[in-house]
């Protein structure tokens, strides 16, 4: 029972809802045009942060509204007052990701554990899933997803891959031999505050949610906040910018938590960050367009990984250094990891190339995760064979 409670706490933390008890989805059956109008007005009122899953259009169609717990009493009072009937459709709204996480931890308790690495700015616990078959600080692979809040397919893919890794252990020779020698640390939601904000308020939010002294604008771009060329070209010094680097390197607690874990561990051999979108596999540097010493090797590994990825659905990726492939960007995570000696540092930008962009449809999550998994497996196998 304790395990399930702990798991519940994890998935909540990982999915970053403010309270896990309380959010509800109400299904409303409007019975008159007047009621439809009232619901439309409700929709326009930003104060309650109601999330309309289906819109008030006609009395023929139900209206589903996700109501955050803070607004529940007020919303229900409003509906009662106007004699609008409703049923509670979902008690405790959880993102679909969460459900998979429960089963991963419950079913694979011997392989997977959660490591608490600290708290986010808004005090959400930050957990990383640790895949280990034993040993003490075995050489390890770091994978982070969801550092940019709006890149949902990154987090969704990470959840799928976590489950895949857990279920393939003992079945897939490559995974089995990898985990026999190395540990994998997988952080599903590296920016929990931002991720929560994309669900409640602004789907296009990117940054953390820290308060910037002297500014109305919140948040720092967590992938410009690492101690690698910090404050250089490709990051903004304006707090209102989506690429604001922050007041200083590692000013963001979310970044610092990861840095502390990786440094204290001391035995990471690979560091992989997962983003969307653009379909790219990149290696350092972002902060400079100069070649890293290991350019040739990482390029070869990258191209082979992309070949494995493409083998599934023919999805095409470009490979190159961050600076050359998309843009110069300072203060990035894999530049930092490379500069502290973690040679196999890579960044993925997942599907698509702009058609849906950040709003990738749900039916593409599993194809994206499956193909990415092949690319990731190639890299992990290579790291295992060369560490």
């Amino acid at each position: 029972m304790k395990l399930y409670l702990a798991v519940f706490a994890l998935l909540v933390a990982a999915q970053c809802h403010k309270l896990f008890i309380g959010d509800q989805v109400l299904r409303i059956n409007a019975e008159s045009e007047e009621q439809i109008q009232l619901l439309k007005e409700l929709e326009d009122d930003e104060g309650w942060e109601l999330d309309f899953w289906t819109y008030p259009v006609s009395t023929d169609l139900p209206v589903d509204i996700h109501v955050p717990s803070a607004s529940l009493h007020a919303a229900k009072s409003f509906l009662h007052l106007h004699n609008i009937s409703f049923t509670v459709m979902i008690n405790n709204v959880q993102v679909r990701n969460s459900f998979i996480q429960i089963s991963i931890l419950a079913a694979h308790a011997n392989l997977v554990s959660k490591v608490h690495i600290g708290f986010s700015y808004e005090n959400r616990p930050m957990y990383v899933l640790k895949f280990s078959t034993g040993g003490n600080k075995r050489p390890a692979i770091w994978i982070d997803a969801g550092i940019h809040a709006r890149e949902w397919v990154s987090t969704a893919s990470a959840v799928w891959m976590a489950n895949k890794m857990a279920t393939d252990y003992g079945v897939d020779p490559s995974v089995t031999s990898l985990l026999g020698r190395m540990d994998v640390y997988l952080m599903v939601v590296t920016n929990p505050d931002g991720y929560a904000y994309t669900h409640t308020s602004n789907r296009m939010w990117r940054k953390t949610r820290s308060i910037n002294a002297g500014s109305v604008c919140r948040g720092v771009d967590p992938n410009r906040n690492w101690d690698a060329g910090f404050g250089g070209p490709g990051a903004s010094k304006n707090p209102c910018s989506d690429s604001y680097h922050g007041p200083s390197a590692q000013s963001e607690i979310e970044v610092k938590n990861v840095v502390d874990l990786v440094k204290n561990h001391g035995n990471f051999k690979a560091f992989i960050s997962i983003h969307s979108y653009s379909q790219l596999l990149m290696y350092p540097y972002g902060y400079s367009c100069n070649n890293i010493p290991d350019q040739a090797e990482l390029g070869t590994v990258g191209r082979s990984a992309v070949q494995a990825l493409s083998s599934l659905y023919g999805t095409s990726y470009r490979v190159g250094s961050i600076c050359r492939i998309i843009y110069q960007a300072s203060g990035g995570s894999i530049d930092w990891s490379y500069d502290i000696g973690i040679k196999y540092s890579f960044a993925f930008e997942l599907r698509d190339t702009g058609r849906y962009g950040f709003l990738l449809p749900a039916n593409q999550i599993i194809p994206t995760a499956s193909e990415t998994w092949l690319g990731l497996k190639y890299i992990m196998k290579y790291v295992r064979d060369n560490s």
């Binding site: 109305v216 070209p233 209102c240 095409s316 490979v319 110069q328």
Partner: protein, 290 residues
Amino acid sequence: MNWFCFVWTVLFSMVWQCPAAPSTPSPTAPGSTAQDEVECPSNCVLLIYSNRSTSEAQDPLVMTSTELNPDHYEAQRAAHAVRYYLNTLYGTPFRQLSFSKVHQARTEDLGEAGMKYLLEISVKDSLNKSSEKLCSAEVVYPRGETQQPPKVQISCAASLQLNTSAEEEDFYKRYSAADSAVSGKDIPDSYGHVDPEMVPFWKLAGVASTFIMLNESNENTLYNLAQVAKITQLESQNGQLRLEYVVLLHDMISQEIIRWKMLVSWSPAEGVKVSDTQLLPKCHCKPPTP
């Protein structure tokens, strides 16, 4: 509505034909909102985009050779400019053009006249997914402090001309009806879902956005349509369907989400036309007090 914000908004839409691509936003006086003009919720503060300053832009490219790696960003950004251009010419709610790959790229520095990019790209037509056309294209980015659109030419332009499809005619007839009043918001929704009926309106937004994206393009931008924030059908005029859109454009380089309002007219005969484009200030929202 706060007159200060109104003046700024009007100034922006009047002074710049092609408003300077926003670099970073700066806040207006605290407490100022312009509810009617830009639909910022009441707990939000308006941010006005400042002109692109050179210190914010990426370090100027130092080209030691004129041959470009076609997979690298310089060639890719120019290829997107070609994509925008093609869609302004041939895009419809049922037809969009894109590119699958840049095969070759090089630049020619034209000095005062600008920087010319010469590309070999594979053009994809949504109407004919199986075949791609290999085309030569040229993009000339003008020099100067203020934003001006690149000039684009492409070799296969003529071959891309097509007759109106039956699908387009049906759609046009259906929504030309006097009582047609399509409206919508957040397309696709947060989960990437688009109602089947709204798909052509979404695609139309994509095509119309390319007019703005082309206008705003330079060597330091790369735009995609992130989401349609709002769509409202207006009364048809002169046989054109007319729709007012608010779209969110994503600039990959600055990572900003930029809001634009535009008036779009379309008919199978006239194609897509865009007017009254208006850069909308960013809404910066304070979280509701718990």
